[in-house]
Symmetry: C2
Subunit: 253 residues, 2 copies
């Protein structure tokens, strides 16, 4: 019998396989740790892990702990390589980073998902929530809003259909109306901000990136902890940010 979840059929073995990989990503784990975590028998987990290990998806360390293996990394990298935005943009981003000193994020719109595809860390290497591959919440991030601002209403809806409008901070936009209003501003002005709307100590300035036809591909942002650089500080680099986005656009066919 099939488990229905949100209307789609979900295979139990595959689902737990995924959960296990996710668990191992946090750090090396032992067999019984993993079994306890998911409340299944150790032998079950053992055989799944052996299957993963055989395929190179997990790696067995000397102390018996398991961690993510090279095959998984390789596949992911292959998928990243297939996107040409990061390849084209990386050098430009590093140049911008060198000039400003802050952290640069590059996000790409693929189907109805926005994901980080590159990140160049600033001198203040404080760990932020972002990571290459992480999906971006469109309505409460700089890059997300920059992308939304360029989309026709229909596609906007598609990106926002899963939105939960959680108020992560006091600044988070929690209604579609308020969002649309701000997107209008971003659209006319050509750039947007995130003033502590997801993590209250982080702010950024973001601009959309289009290809040479003018259709939206992604966005980039200059991001900093507020203590390091306020929005006003970041705004000083606005010309450089826009120039970077334009350089990338020009190379995007």
């Amino acid at each position: 019998m099939w488990v229905q979840y949100k209307g789609v059929y979900v295979s139990q073995a595959v689902q737990r396989a995924i959960e296990i990989l996710d668990f191992l990503a946090e750090g090396p784990r032992s067999l019984s740790e993993t079994a306890r975590r998911f409340d299944v028998h150790r032998s079950t987990v053992l055989r799944q892990l052996q299957t993963f290990e055989e395929a190179g998806f997990v790696l067995r360390r000397g102390n018996g702990h398991y961690s993510i293996g090279p095959k998984m990394i390789s596949i992911a990298q292959q998928a990243l390589d297939a996107l040409d935005l990061p390849a084209v943009a990386h050098d430009e981003l590093r140049r911008l980073q060198a000039k400003t000193g802050n952290t640069i994020h590059l996000a790409q719109l693929v189907e109805s998902t926005v994901m980080y595809v590159d990140k160049v860390e600033g001198r203040d290497s404080v760990r932020m929530y972002s990571r290459v591959g992480k999906t971006v919440l469109p309505h409460c991030t700089g890059v997300g809003k920059a992308i939304l601002s360029q989309l026709p209403v229909g596609r906007r809806d598609a990106l926002l259909v899963d939105a939960e409008w959680t108020a992560f901070t006091a600044q988070t936009i929690v209604s579609r109306a308020a969002l649309d209003e701000q997107l209008e501003l971003i659209n006319t002005r050509g750039w947007g901000v995130d003033d502590g709307e997801f993590e209250d100590f982080v702010n950024c300035i973001a601009v959309p990136i289009t290809n040479s036809n003018g259709s939206i591909i992604g966005a980039l942002s200059l991001t900093a902890i507020k203590v390091v650089a306020t929005l006003d500080d970041l705004k000083l680099h606005l010309d450089d940010i826009r120039a970077t986005a334009q350089n990338i656009s020009r190379q995007l066919g």
Copy 2:
């Protein structure tokens, strides 16, 4: 009943799940394409893919094709972030690349596996076989041999236990004795080469990277298509290569 493969128990569902991901990594594929490829019913694949999609491991494109999804990339990136060698080395590698113009590979030894963990492409951006996450064949690559040269015989055996001594080219080393002899040379001289031993049109110079205690962590190589730069050309940069490795070592705690 359990399928035994090379002495370990392998779960069928999980194994095919992995094969499917590997298949999708090559490029977006449709449902029935995938079903045909593995000779299973379309409905079976559909439900597996739905499970993957639910988890973000695969992404459904507008045309009904499936490709690798953000969650998978994110997990892999998380695993890469946990290794500090690439983080420490990346800037140094870029500097070396800028100075030489050729491609730089960075490989790390983790347990009994050597894998590429960073790559900075040269101006001659010809596609090589290597990719971040790919495992390195120890005995027929520059970085592999550089690492082997620093290992005690016992660990050397562990890395070579799966070696098949295939002669990829006329230059490939195909016996343990010949390998050991060359490793001896690399060890005393401090650097090694790959003179078309894996792909006959590619050559490189490689040096090991140790941490400040002197224990081996990985290796880096300066690589080029022979048409672009011969071994003699690459040797001109030997001092820079060694300096880069030393700079990285110093920062490796």
